[in-house]
Symmetry: D2
């Protein structure tokens, strides 16, 4: 490590990553979280919220294609989409690539972050906020969904892990929240979510989320991909009551990708299918899991990645 | 980061990983390389050679299953195996799980490292060095293969990346070396190798190696897996003149895994197949690659992960 | 920072020092504290207890000469010496350089540390433990002094700062403890102690200790020196009821240093006198200080270096 | 170390300091050097040039009082002052506290740095640049002194160490440069300079500079002080042909400090005198030194702090 500026991120309680910063574009605190935006040589701009790297300019396409397209491609004709989180606008950007989409509602509680993204992170949103089909709401997503009965073809959930007992996001990882999400899906609707790192010692976020989602949806499927900017393999979940969202009939995916003109950079039909194939040890960890997170006993993660259940005291 | 001892590893020239060490078991230098062996909380013992983490106790099974079994399972009845590198003995251990194997020859130039592994890394070799079918040679693998005309059903190559113009390992990544390897394969033989990290900014080791191997073998297939202890996605290559080693007929893999009684922890039949499916951007990087590494102009990697060709001056 | 092993020490809550370790000689935990002993290029062996570097091979002579000789030289003929702490034996070594010394009692609670020092830190003790004049006691120094009425010409206190409310050492920084020390001094006796780093933001250890000692002794004098291995300027205190220990008459120091044949490497007469001259800002901080640490309300330091008083609950 | 932004500075080749940055105010490169300006909790704003911390808001008064006042107080009535380096304006500020000063010329080659300091570092210059007695020149100091025959009562040299064979500052540390400086002194004039860290393993900058200055001036005196923001003890040199600048007659310093109304925060008369008292090991290192830096063979420092002589090839 040469002299200069670094960003330090604890990946586990025992392993940390230092990233050389060429320039710091912004740092401070919104009402909800610390933020850091800086430039690096290999990953371009990097966005950090609280202690975690959220996204890097050079590889955000991998993360956002992985979060968005399996769900959108699983749906025969997605017209309306709701996004929980996703403040920098790249999830919205990917959603708006679908010409069938008539309405995309993004709900991120952190209005200051959204404003900052508009100015400082154009590489992410690429103008998506200005699309007439897009609506941005800066409120608590659960509260908003509870009070607004509109329904959607696809709901995408992009939240940080609920680390720490005090974490208010814990109530966005419960059976009751997923039931609310399900009520806001149109018939034939599908939900996708980011669901935790898949690290040897940190398997618990993913299995518990999988187990909890499975309480609510008839079909719950895990998939995974390596996100270079995180130096981590991440888990995702696709769920639907209507159909198995990972069981594409021969050629369907390929046709949809071509017909919908998505210009994918990382995904193709066969790789999407391969993402749904899990290694044996992870499969077993998911099968073994018994913890179901509820509003009465929502789970949270310890710094070690262990899952614990306890009442949430705001 | 709490007070205490850390191991610092530069993953790219701009990003570094610090690992908290609970205890240092050994550190020093053999005739060939620096070594560090220490204990960590999450990954157990960690082995570092020169600047790179080679293996961790808790996840080495992922790396070694990934390196060994696709090749061994591709072969209908592997009886003889040659291992280039692999000094800590875990590749040998996985190979010896096959009851058909009558002879496994491991060739690692670093005799001091092999001796140290026998004492300090029993979790890796698990007694493999004492198996009567095993032979350990501590010489330069290329020299040894050139002078010993024995042939093998499977050859496994487990070498570090040829980083730096002075790196003597550069001559183990050339057309001529792979031709030598091919001459030492029995008819129907197959070769597998570790083939570099797959990081956004570090794609060059893998494409160049793929392109070079393809000069020599009729069938060259890349596959990949996430290695938690490296915090990286790694590429591997399987090659054969006899058959496409990634084209298993329906049910073959599953049957062989069951019949051969391998006790796999990470791999299963469907995940092995999924590892051979590459994302679009990596596929394109491989297809675009034109560099072929030869003895006259062997390639090397810069610290940035770029590949360059230049004569090797020992 | 090159790849390899480092020791990380937080010097303030915001500034940390990384030291490259060439080799780790020992690491673990005694009943009382974590310990780390390692080799470095510039400072030789380094001893760390809990989170603080205690001493380095190459500069320990500076620290121990500074702690020991002002007190020993202030005394006209030191025959008996009691050392609180000082487990590695270098304070004892410096004390035994005085031929007048007939009895040197070192009391360090950590018997495991003392044993380790005998084997691993010969550069510190240099055989001092084997001197027939030396006695080593491994008990709580306060308890021992309370129950043993022997008295001494010089008492040297070498303790870590009482950082943290739970720190048991808090009761070794109170008026009552210093009164006990005074009762164990012979007439004409003198006490010296290490008294905290003198860092801009960390002035509170020193002023509070000075203020507390002044409650007990007629003459209390601060002095300071830079300890390279700590990268810090450190404060020390000399106190006596009999005479002002920093007011040497012309030529006395020089004569005593010469006559006693001490072979000093860092100190000479004029530098000893200069160490007692404090800069204006530190003088003012000491004068302003009003906190007196008592058994009822012993002070402790926060991580920020602020001093707080609160009852100690063992 | 908590998550967040850090500045990494190598203090020796083996020891490094990380400083937590709350906010980055500027970072980039002028024509001459890299710069970083950031805010920290304990030291306030920090200015870094190339790889070294130059100054921190909270302790710069210690450094600048130490550099400026011994020379200014040694002079009976300083009217004209020349400053080599000192781009942030704090040396100038201290100089202008003397009402006798009629002309203060600061010469720093880095015009971009000076402009930045005006805006971003008001805590340093405190308006000094606007004083009608001040002149700022942004040229090479040696070239300017050679072509401008004006003479001064006091010359203050505030330069970074000449680390590295390519360092153009090497020609500002030679006999010929100090002879030029002497020619630009009025009769009775005095020069002061920052002269390197005094660290166990880094003694060579100071002894060599002392030895070189002594070739030119009849009276050459070293002094030292701990600079908290550097975590280092620093050496300084005062030189004059007219008188011994460290030999103040009884009461002179005290009187001058009072009469000149300087409002010193760190220095007082007795501490100034104490700064000129060196420890035995440093005295011996200075006495042992034989290297004299000349234009033909200017010295430079290696990263290890060793001094070497070699021709300078621009």
């Amino acid at each position: 490590m040469e002299y200069g500026m670094y960003y330090l991120e604890q990946v586990t309680p025992y392993e940390a990553i230092s990233r050389r910063m060429n320039k710091v574009l912004a740092s401070g605190r919104t009402r909800f979280q610390d933020y850091f935006i800086f430039e690096t040589t290999a990953f371009g701009k990097v966005l950090v919220l609280d202690k975690d790297v959220q996204s890097t300019e050079k590889d955000e396409y991998i993360y956002h294609e992985t979060l968005v397209h399996p769900a959108m491609l699983a749906h025969p004709e997605p017209k309306s989409v709701f996004i929980v989180g996703g403040g920098e606008g790249a999830t919205l950007r990917e959603v708006l690539k679908y010409k069938t989409v008539e309405r995309a509602v993004m709900c991120d509680i952190d209005d200051e972050l959204v404003e900052m993204a508009k100015t400082l992170l154009p590489e992410w949103h690429q103008g998506a906020f200005d699309d007439p089909r897009a609506t941005v709401i800066t409120e608590d997503a659960r509260g908003w969904l509870e009070t607004h009965p509109d329904t959607y073809d696809v709901i995408l959930i992009d939240l940080n892990d609920p680390v720490g007992e005090e974490n208010p996001a814990r109530l966005l990882f419960t059976v009751e929240f997923y039931e609310l999400v399900k009520r806001r899906l149109n018939p034939g609707g599908v939900v996708a979510m980011q669901a935790g790192m898949l690290l040897l010692t940190h398997h618990h976020q993913h299995p518990v989320t999988h187990r909890t989602v499975r309480e609510v949806f008839r079909h719950t499927r895990s998939y995974h991909n390596y996100i270079p900017g995180f130096f981590l393999n991440f888990g995702f979940i696709l769920a639907s009551d209507a159909f198995d969202p990972a069981a594409f009939s021969e050629g369907t995916l390929e046709t949809r990708i071509r017909e919908r003109g998505l210009g994918l950079r990382h995904l193709n039909a066969s790789f999407i299918e391969a993402m749904f194939v899990l290694p044996k040890d992870l499969l077993e960890a998911i099968q073994r899991e018994t913890m179901v997170s509820t509003d009465a006993l929502p789970f949270y993660l310890t710094e070690e990645g262990e899952a614990r259940q306890a009442p949430y005291q705001p």
